[in-house]
């Protein structure tokens, strides 16, 4: 996955947390794999599909304790356990982050699916069409979380198409 396609997602996470939660995030070391690591912690994952000039999935993964604090901060409520608000909040966060990133992806026209949310302790996210997962870990005052991106361009973005045309002369 090219840096020009990664940076919009990093910026989107940073802006979302700063604007909606008043908190800055620290980005860890990215990793790439064909499937996500098997997790053994209670997590909540928000997923949203991408279609258009690129296909893929954006997933935000929160340990439960982080999800409770993040969603609680969004609406000023002290959550002690996962309920429908937490599930809804995680879905809305992935929607906002993917929406913000797609606006920043130069040369692409991308549509988003409606978000889905899954919960569990032992799971693995696989991907289709030989696409890989880019995993971006983050830490903020409310705990750790990660953004996972599967991003496969289906057409050459306009900017690259222009360069390719210029180079072929």
């Amino acid at each position: 996955m090219k840096a020009e396609n990664i940076n919009p997602f990093l910026e989107a996470v940073s802006e979302t947390f700063e604007n909606m939660l008043g908190c800055s995030v620290i980005t860890g070391e990215p990793s790439v794999d064909n499937e996500t690591d098997t997790q053994n912690t209670p997590d909540i994952i928000g997923l949203i599909g991408l279609s258009g000039t690129a296909q893929g999935i954006v997933a935000i993964r929160f340990p439960v304790r982080t999800a409770l604090r993040v969603v609680g901060t969004m609406i000023g409520v002290d959550f002690k356990a996962v309920d429908s608000s937490i599930i809804d909040g995680v879905g809305e966060l992935v929607n906002i982050i993917a929406g913000s990133a797609k606006t920043k992806l130069e040369g692409h026209k991308i549509a988003l699916s409606l978000p889905s949310v899954v919960r569990g302790s032992l799971y693995r996210l696989n991907n289709l069409n030989n696409a890989v997962w880019l995993s971006l870990p983050f830490v903020c005052d409310m705990g750790e979380f990660s953004l996972m991106i599967s991003f496969k361009p289906t057409v050459v973005p306009k900017k690259e198409a222009v360069n390719a045309c210029a180079n072929s002369r």
């Binding site: 979302t16 604007n19 969603v71 993917a98 929406g99 606006t103 988003l112 409606l114």
Partner: protein, 123 residues
């Protein structure tokens, strides 16, 4: 005057409700999709402002804006959405939306939009 919040996300409805209460607006009604919004706004003069999400099940916010305007309603509509591309903004405005706010927004962003549109007509 009442404000109608249209969003399928209960969290986003709560965030917007909190922002409205901070600027002294306590008369708030909610819809979870565009279809509900069209039905609620139709013939109801007490709704003075609509905050409309774009991507929702059953009927999108854009479709709802078009329907509301087709029905002759002139209530101000502010799109509150992740759809931030310039062409989307233009499409919404062309379809009848009065203003636009892109998620993620800060408390300051939403407060300034609300203050702009909640000014009484004779104020």
């Amino acid at each position: 005057m009442r404000v109608l919040i249209v969003d399928d996300s209960q969290i986003m409805r709560k965030i917007l409700t909190g922002a409205l209460k901070k600027v002294g607006m306590n008369e708030i009604v909610e819809a979870t999709n565009g279809q509900e919004a069209v039905e609620m706004v139709h013939g109801d003069d007490s709704i003075g402002l609509v905050l409309m999400d774009w991507n929702m099940p059953t009927m999108t916010g854009l479709e709802a804006v078009k329907k509301i305007r087709e029905n002759g309603c002139k209530t101000p509509i502010v799109m509150v959405t992740t759809e931030g591309e310039k062409e989307k903004v233009l499409e919404a405005i062309k379809s009848g939306a009065n203003d636009y706010m892109v998620k993620p927004f800060s408390p300051k962003d939403i407060q300034s939009k609300l203050e702009k549109h909640l000014v009484p007509a004779d104020g």
